[in-house]
């Protein structure tokens, strides 16, 4: 019986992994280290607020946050299943992982939609 769901989940995992690989290092370096430690000047609030007004920025942020969450969900689910041999909890793990990714996506979409 051909599995109809896993190819889709694998595509999400791959897209999310690519987004995370390409974009997270620079974002994490800037936001998590360079700006707080003062190595580089952080962007001002007004500038970021203006950036957020563009629909392109909002789409970018949706992709940046949502896809890596699905990457985590798929990968972490298999890690728990194989690594900790939690086979009897397989359905629960799947629901929790993909559910969390969906919740994160929904929250992101909501925030981006309601910006004035």
């Amino acid at each position: 019986m051909v599995d109809r769901i896993t190819p889709f989940l694998w595509l999400l995992f791959s897209a999310g992994g690519t987004v995370a690989a390409l974009l997270f290092p620079v974002h994490l370096f800037l936001t998590g280290l360079a700006f707080p430690l003062g190595w580089l000047e952080a962007p001002r609030y007004e500038f970021l607020h203006r950036l957020l007004a563009h629909p392109v920025t909002r789409l970018y942020l949706l992709v940046l946050i949502s896809l890596p969450l699905f990457h985590w969900a798929h990968r972490f689910r298999y890690t728990l299943y194989d690594g900790l041999q939690l086979k009897h909890l397989t359905a629960l793990i799947a629901v929790l992982c993909y559910g969390a990714a969906l919740v994160g996506t929904a929250m992101t979409a909501h925030v981006l939609w309601t910006i004035r």
């Binding site: 019986m1 599995d3 896993t6 190819p7 889709f8 694998w10 595509l11 194989d82």
Partner: protein, 247 residues
């Protein structure tokens, strides 16, 4: 210059014991000897009750796969000199039931290999009068690497997923399925999709990559599986967008 080396071999005699034990033998060290030579020395001169499989002793039959110091290897291609000063630990392959000493039962692998239909599937055969199927070097190149598999099962012994999920079809069978999918003479990709793109097929694989590392023929089964994941996912997208299109 050492003249002997210690070989610590896993023994399992079901009529005597319920768990494997270790036995150590001192074998002569020769710099051109492989582990298989040492095992044959044990069987010929020291302990005739030792059981193990071997055949061609030159790395093409796939019979002599065992774990040497924890790594799956072909014992006919593993030199004693690389493991000095010893002792050298020899055990049967992981994740297969041990029948006796170093002999494992491979029925599961054979069954899974048959499942993926490793032969040319044609919708209709070319009549004899039309001659042979012709293939360019580039078309051969598309699948040649995967055809090098000698069914030695070292990859199964290296794959933790196969150990955790006995239903997993496994690296060699999946690589051989891909060998036929990529063959220009084959028309069976749709038929194999039903077997490969299921839970115990490619989707169990998490790309650990150990199978490729231990393969003595450089088949790269991990690569074959990842390629197939992409083509199965592409097929899924196509079937979603064009449900009326047949492959």
């Amino acid at each position: 210059m050492t003249s002997t080396v210690a070989l610590t071999v896993a023994r399992y005699r079901p009529e005597k014991e319920s768990e494997p034990t270790w036995e150590t033998y001192e074998v002569p060290f020769r710099k051109d000897w492989v582990v298989l030579d040492a095992l044959n020395h044990v069987k010929d001169r020291l302990d005739g009750s030792l059981s193990f499989r071997w055949s061609c002793r030159m790395g093409v039959c796939g019979s002599c796969g065992m774990k040497v110091n924890g790594t799956p290897k072909l014992t006919c291609a593993t030199f004693l000199s690389d493991y000095l000063p010893g002792p050298i630990r020899v055990e049967p392959l992981d994740y297969f039931p041990v029948v006796r000493d170093l002999v494992v039962d491979i029925t599961d692998f054979v069954r899974k290999l048959k499942q993926v239909k490793p032969w040319i599937i044609r919708k209709e055969e070319k009549p004899l009068g039309e001659g042979e199927y012709l293939q360019t070097p580039d078309q051969l190149d598309a699948y040649k690497q995967f055809s090098m598999c000698i069914n030695c099962m070292l990859c199964y012994s290296a794959c933790p997923i196969y150990g955790l999920e006995p239903g997993f079809i496994g690296p060699a069978a999946l690589a051989l399925a891909q060998r036929y999918n990529m063959d220009s003479r084959d028309q069976g990709a749709a038929e194999r999709l039903k077997i490969l793109s299921e839970h115990d097929g490619i989707w169990q694989c998490t790309f650990v990559g150990e199978c490729t590392k231990v393969c003595p023929k450089h088949v790269d089964p991990a690569g074959a599986i990842q390629q197939y994941k992409l083509s199965a996912a592409t097929h899924w997208v196509k079937s979603l967008l064009l449900p009326w299109g047949t492959r």
